[in-house]
Each structure stands twice: as structure tokens, then as C-alpha cells.
């Protein structure tokens, strides 16, 4: 009688030892078949398509910050060669024009950055240039936001505050139709 009692007690527990193995199997399956999402990038809003070329002749020369990238990945900023590393500071100075120089933009609302590349330009170089120009605006927004609201510019800010900042320094980055001198065949 006593023997059956112990047997009953043993039967009452389900052996959970193999549960770990099953879970491990599932874990390894998910580890192998999945990749950690790293969906980050530079968000860009393209202009709508129109068949006419935009007329830029009526813009004042001082308000345009032209950046050209050729097929050899060399930069021409306002008609003189430049390096990518100095682009951000120059763009910031151009947009804000703190010392009121006559050859830089009249004000951040008038400033236009014009980017033109070749079909043979390396994508990496293009993105680096684009990154620097966007970085210039991001830093200016941060500075303005810090001055006004005491916090850096972010998507968590109230919409009205973000709009006020973007009205003060609108991001105007126009991309011209690329030239075709160095396209690889």
C-alpha cells in the first residue's frame, strides 16, 4: 500500500526537463532566421515631378550655396574646390550669416542650397555630402531650439514649436538634374 502511494506521488509531476530543450530549439530557430532590424537612414522628401525645369535665374547669387560633385568625387562649393569635412561649417555660416557679409545669404529664409552631381558620382560621396548639408540644418535647428525652448530639436517637441523653428530656418535643398559626363558603362 505504501508502495503505490509513492508511485502516485511520482506520477503527479510532469517532467519539465525537456521543456528547456524545446525552448532552446525555438530560440535557435529564431536566432538563425532573423536579423536585428537596423532601419535607419536619411529621410528625404523628393519634390513632385514636373516636366518644366525650375527657373533659378531670378535668384540672387548671394542667396545660393551651390555644391557640385563631379564624377571624380571632387567638390566645387561656390566655384571653388572644397573638402567634405568643411562643408557643414561653411553651410551653417552661409545660412545664418552671423557677420552680415554681403556675399552670404540675406537671411536663413532666403538661403537656398543647390546640390548638383554627375551620373558618375559615387553614391557614398553623394550621401556624405547630403549628410553634411542636412547636418548643417539639423545643428542650426538644435541651436535655435536650445536658445528658445531650452532643449534640442526633436520629434517629441510640440508641433507648434517645431513649426516655429522650421519657419525661422526652412530647409531648402534643391537638387538639380545631374550632368552626365562620367557614367560607367
Amino acid at each position: 500500500m505504501a508502495k503505490t502511494k509513492t508511485r502516485d506521488r511520482m506520477n503527479n509531476e510532469i517532467n519539465a526537463g525537456s521543456m528547456a530543450d524545446i525552448a532552446f530549439l525555438l530560440l535557435i530557430f529564431f536566432l538563425v532566421t532573423t536579423t536585428i532590424a537596423e532601419d535607419k537612414g536619411i529621410l528625404v522628401k523628393l519634390p513632385p515631378w514636373s516636366d518644366e525645369e525650375p527657373d533659378i535665374t531670378k535668384l540672387k547669387e548671394r542667396n545660393v550655396f551651390s555644391v557640385l560633385v563631379n564624377a571624380q568625387n571632387q567638390l566645387l562649393v561656390r566655384e571653388e574646390p572644397a573638402r567634405i569635412g568643411e562643408l557643414r561649417e561653411r553651410a551653417k555660416e552661409f545660412i545664418m550669416n552671423p557677420s552680415k557679409r554681403p556675399d552670404l545669404a540675406e537671411g536663413p529664409r532666403n538661403a537656398i542650397i543647390s546640390l548638383k552631381n554627375d551620373r558618375g558620382t559615387n553614391y557614398e560621396t553623394y550621401l556624405a555630402v547630403y549628410n553634411e548639408l542636412k547636418g548643417a540644418y539639423d545643428e542650426l535647428w538644435d541651436e535655435l531650439s536650445e536658445r528658445r525652448y531650452g532643449q534640442p530639436y526633436s520629434d517629441e517637441m510640440p508641433f507648434a514649436q517645431r513649426k516655429a523653428i522650421r519657419d525661422e530656418i526652412p530647409m531648402v535643398l534643391s537638387e538639380a538634374e545631374p550632368t552626365n559626363f562620367g557614367e560607367e558603362q
Binding site: G17, A20, F30, T35, Y123, E184
Partner: protein
């Protein structure tokens, strides 16, 4: 006394492994949350460049992916070595892009369609020609929100 100590010795239990499944399940759920099933296998080699001004794409279902790069070794015999475009899991041309966008769009509710983003996963070594063609096609198809996929750069720019 002897009886007492003997009993103790016998009942000294093995370490309980009952909580092990729970721990493993916790890990399992963590990985299930943070990972996403790879939906298409890449026929192109795509090494996205690095940048600093990054934005995170949040809603997965609103994103479609356009890959641009050179075919990998095993597909070079079929597709050559010059840069190609891949939409979902097949090599395509720029003319297939409008249909691809439309196929993605119809799966989504009307209210969300304006928030669709195209993620351009472009290899750093590709020239801008093919990227420009893709951009032009996207503009013509009125898909204006795009995202140049890039990794985080940590080192200083030269």
C-alpha cells in the same frame, strides 16, 4: 543521530531545472520581439554607406525596400557585374518600380497610404546614374518620401 544525518544527505536535492524553460522562453520572446523575418534573399551585394543625420523608420508595414547594387558572385553569370535593382526578391529594371509600389500600396488601408516610405538600400560603390533613374521614377510615381538607408558613423570625417 545517524538516522537523522543520513536522511539529510539523501534529501539534498539536485539543482532544480524547472525554471530553466522560463528563462529560455524569456530570451525567446526577447528575440522574437526585436527581430524581423528576412523577407527577401538578396541577389545583390549591398553595403550601405555610413552617415550621422539618421532617422529611424518605425512602422515596418509602411516601408518598401528598393535594393541597388552589384550582383553577388553566384548571380554574376546571369545578371552581369554592373549595378542592378532588386525589388522584393527579383532583379528588376526601373520600369518595374511603379507596379511594385502599387502592389505594396493596395495591401494597406487608405488612411495610411500617404505615409508610405521607400527605403533605398544602395551600395556605397554604385554610381549615381542608376540611383538617379530610381529617384526620377519614384517622383513620377508620386512616391516622394524616401529614405537613404545608412549605418551609423562613429569616426570623424576626413
Amino acid at each position: 543521530m545517524a538516522k537523522f544525518s543520513k536522511k539529510r544527505g539523501k534529501s539534498s536535492p539536485a539543482i532544480s531545472t524547472a525554471s530553466l524553460p522560463d528563462i529560455i522562453f524569456m530570451l525567446l520572446f526577447f528575440f522574437m520581439m526585436v527581430t524581423v523575418l528576412r523577407d527577401s534573399d538578396l541577389k545583390l551585394s549591398v553595403n550601405t554607406p555610413e552617415a550621422t543625420q539618421l532617422t529611424k523608420l518605425d512602422e515596418k508595414s509602411l516601408v518598401n525596400y528598393i535594393y541597388v547594387g552589384r550582383p553577388t558572385q553566384q548571380y554574376q553569370a546571369v545578371y552581369g557585374t554592373s549595378p542592378r535593382i532588386q525589388l522584393s526578391d527579383k532583379i528588376s529594371t526601373v520600369d518595374d518600380i511603379p507596379l511594385f509600389l502599387e502592389q505594396h500600396k493596395v495591401k494597406l488601408p487608405e488612411a495610411k497610404r500617404s505615409r508610405i516610405t521607400s527605403s533605398l538600400r544602395v551600395d556605397g560603390d554604385v554610381t549615381m546614374g542608376i540611383v538617379q533613374d530610381v529617384k526620377t521614377k519614384l517622383r513620377k510615381s508620386n512616391q516622394l518620401k524616401i529614405n537613404y538607408s545608412a549605418g551609423k558613423r562613429t569616426d570623424e570625417l576626413r
